[in-house]
Symmetry: C2
Subunit: 193 residues, 2 copies
DNA sequence: GCGCACGCCGAACGATCGTGCTATTTTCGT
DNA sequence: ACGAAAATAGCACGATCGTTCGGCGTGCGC
């Protein structure tokens, strides 16, 4: 890996942390430069614009999210076990990770602001939703879930469970958030069996 | 109503709109002044600081949210009808309104940023959650829902349904979002009956 | 090991940020 | 109607924003 590529990744790593707690829009070149010990212009040279930086941060976090959430699931046995693994790894990532935090906050920061960042964000959400639906669909084919269950609806509902868990956990500091998430998930699985 | 109070409300009205689409943190005195036809300093004088402005925006939107969502519910018959009315008015507000949009985005903007804004936001969320739980609890007492159903869990789950509806509707532009929300709600009610 | 591209820096730019001051105008109780 | 009080404007401040440019040093292909 060339020198430039290496520092670029270091910058993105720091940027994901900052963006996860302060929001993607409030990423500033200056604070990011200070945090990484670089000069503003030196850092800026790696990304031609702030928007490019934001998109790259999104992609960087996206890869981490796939590693942490999707990969454990797809390497689990097809069917119910896979969906359960998805839920558990997603929950763990939402509890401790930074990537999920970034996506969730960015989703509402950019839901009304057209541009490259929003476009990228929408595509990632749609891709992930399709992945979840596909895992569930496989579960139907294997006979774990009801034949007339709706995979898109399942992906939708599961995402809702994660969103409210995330809010209860991060904003409200609700100690019972995880318990509630598990209960909601159990009922979702049950009603699709 | 005194002159000052009147312009203050006009400013807050504009501020809610801006904050709903750009986020509460990116509210700027300058753009707000231009939007309302005032001078920066003239506008600023109404709020001693930007943080005060943000808190007041939050409270202003909170009153609107209560008017649009909670009030229709509490004026509906106790029990299942009330919970259903809550869902419908909440859904309508989430679809078209600005207040809900503000709360949702603010929830993630400030989930990691201590201060008066976050404190106020947390309190509003807790208050609302309690209101929802109480409506459900009344429904239990009236025999509409299962005696062993969990009101807090219901409020939690319902909020999750709204969050994912909001994301599907605003970010993804999913035309079937509302249909999915209704289906999820029906199943939530069913499993608590 | 030479040469050049690339990484990085310092300085500067116009703009805008939040927030003070000081006037000036407008409102409002008496 | 007058005077106090409130509302608003004008101006300026230091800071920080994203971005550009010219130069310096160093890593990397030949």
């Amino acid at each position: 890996m060339s020198k430039g590529e290496e520092t670029r990744k270091q910058v993105l790593e720091a940027a994901v942390e900052v963006a996860a707690s302060s929001g993607l829009a409030s990423l500033t070149i200056g604070s990011l430069a200070e945090r990484t010990g670089m000069s503003k212009s030196g850092l800026f040279a790696h990304f031609k614009s702030k928007e490019t930086l934001q998109v790259q941060v999104l992609e960087f976090a996206g890869e981490a999210f796939i590693q942490d959430v999707v990969r454990p699931a797809v390497s689990a046995p097809r069917g119910e076990k896979r969906v359960l693994t998805l839920f558990e790894s997603w929950l763990a990532t939402a509890r401790d990770g930074t990537a999920e935090c970034l996506f969730v906050s960015a989703a509402w920061e950019y839901d009304d602001q057209p541009g490259a960042v929003r476009d990228r964000l929408v595509r990632m959400h749609l891709d992930f939703r399709d992945s979840v639906a596909q895992m569930f669909r496989t579960g139907i084919a294997e006979g774990f879930f009801a034949a007339d269950a709706d995979p898109e609806q399942f992906a939708h509902d599961l995402h809702g469970i994660m969103l409210i868990y995330f809010q209860a956990h991060r904003l409200l500091g609700d100690a019972r958030a995880e318990e509630r998430a598990r209960r909601a998930f159990s009922r979702l699985i049950e009603s699709n069996r």
